[in-house]
């Protein structure tokens, strides 16, 4: 399986879904329209020739100052072809939501929860989109670029209101 065939098959099957393609160090990346991500992933998974049967990785990236600000990156592997493909979906700051892939792979469950926890990306249709690594009552999304790295003031019950009032990134 080579990168050109994947692009060709995908463009023939879902012409409007592919927004851009690029190749860096032999790794194919495909920018996919947000509403088509489930359809694209399902085609890549179920097509007997392509058969990208394994969702290896799913994570968010925050490109602060760029439009669209957020990006969700998916890496799929085909066990039979020994080939990896990367899908990317751009999400605007005003509405950082994307359909969930938990309907295709169970493994998306926790990886999507992590992306929500760290970047505030909403995966619509996810069975239980809750925080996974950060404490439940923590406000804000820590891996966003506008959250400072140090100087985290610890909030206790008696001073939580005052501490959160001073945090510019907090508040949902």
């Amino acid at each position: 399986m080579d990168n050109a065939t994947v692009i060709e098959r995908l463009r023939a099957e879902l012409p409007d879904a592919v927004l851009a393609t690029s190749e860096f160090r032999g790794q194919l990346s495909i920018v996919v329209a947000r509403e088509a991500i489930v359809e694209v992933a399902r085609f890549l998974r179920d097509d007997p020739e392509l058969s990208y049967n394994f969702l290896e990785n799913l994570c968010g990236v925050d490109y602060l100052g760029r439009d669209p600000r957020f990006e969700v990156v998916y890496h799929l592997i085909s066990h039979s072809n020994r080939h990896r493909v990367c899908l990317k979906v751009g999400l605007p700051e005003s509405d950082p939501s994307v359909p969930t892939l938990t309907t295709l792979w169970s493994t998306a469950n926790w990886q999507e929860r992590e992306a929500y926890d760290m970047f505030g990306i909403i995966f619509t249709g996810h069975p239980s989109l809750e925080r996974i690594l950060m404490p439940e009552e923590w406000e804000g999304f820590p891996q966003r670029k506008d959250v400072p790295l140090g100087g985290e003031e610890v909030a206790f019950t008696f001073n939580a209101d005052r501490v959160y009032a001073r945090k510019i990134f907090a508040g949902k």
């Binding site: 879902l14 489930v38 179920d46 990785n57 990236v61 066990h79 169970s106 950060m134």
Partner: protein, 419 residues
Amino acid sequence: MTITADPPKVTLPAVPSPKEITQPALEGRTENMVLNMGPHHPSTHGVLRLVVEMNGETVVRVAPDIGFLHTGIEKTMESKTYQKALVMTDRMDYLAPLSNNLSYVLAVEKLLDCEVPPRAMTARVLLTELTRISSHLVWLGTHALDLAAMSVFLYGFREREQILDIFELVSGARMMTSYFRVGGLAYDLPEEFPATVQALVDVMPSRIDEYESLLTGNPIWLERTVGVGAINTADAISLGLTGPGLRATGCPWDLRKDMPYCGYETYDFNVPVAKNGDIYDRYLVRIAEMRESVKIVKQALQRLKDIGPGPVTTLDRKISPPPKAEITESMESLIHHFKLWTEGFKPPIGDALAAVESPRGELATYIVSDGSPKPYRVHFRAPSFINLQSLDVMARGRLMADLIALIASMDPVLGEVDR
């Protein structure tokens, strides 16, 4: 574009969140008992909390509650230069620090498109295979300990000590090694290295026989492990299970064979598989993997001898600093040294993912570069984190005691789960 048909349904139930189990119990809407296990429980292998919904002695659902060890490693790495961010990777999977190092340096080297000299490549293979053995020894010891077989733990740690001594010999540290650097190794292997490794590979096969004689045919061990927590290949792939857990189901997927890195395709070794996907099969696969690793270590040791002394880092001065001796003689070397340790190197704009077969499964590092000397974004596909999701599916309908055996058989390292 036609998006009409419903996507095919995933047949596996979704992993519940802790709240989904505790809430109905608090409101008195269920007859089932909710049992809290951890975060400080000896059999959870770290700070893992499990919220278990039970009907009598039978497990109905399990919700792992994680994040107690979350230290923001991915975020912290964004503020360090590429070379200095490396030390953070040791702290994730602290039982296999060199596998983490390897995954990270391979990703950065992919961004840079840099060549690594054969001596460094071979040393990397040798040391990561030793890491696999030492990590599996901890798994074996603690797994047996959880099922009340005390002595295996002591024997296993005896050999692990020998491997940690080798790590200390090469890097100065027993666990937080940071020995692999972008472009090669931190420094050359010491003179005593071949003899010390040879001493280990000479005894290791007979020691593995010793562990097996304690467990493989042991009726109590069989009673506790055979048929417990079985999972089939299709479910394992849907759950993202990798490593020995996946290979125990009969799927021979191993990145060292299927997407080789560091020249693994040139080594002669087998990928052990089993067929039932239960705890016992995972045990058999890991034991066989240790034997295969010894085989690879032997070959790598011979190759190091054949290659002989030579450079252990890339000769590209834009990535790897010049040797100390050169700095006093050459102005350019001094400038390179200064630039590298104050500013760092700048990979081109782009993103790269490099995956290695760590003892626990597929460990992948995804790095986004914005052309500056610091990574814009680093993400780890942590195998412990993703494998832990399948605990709920495996434990449903089993007894509480099986849950303990299941956690041990998945071999999670909480430092890597929480990062």
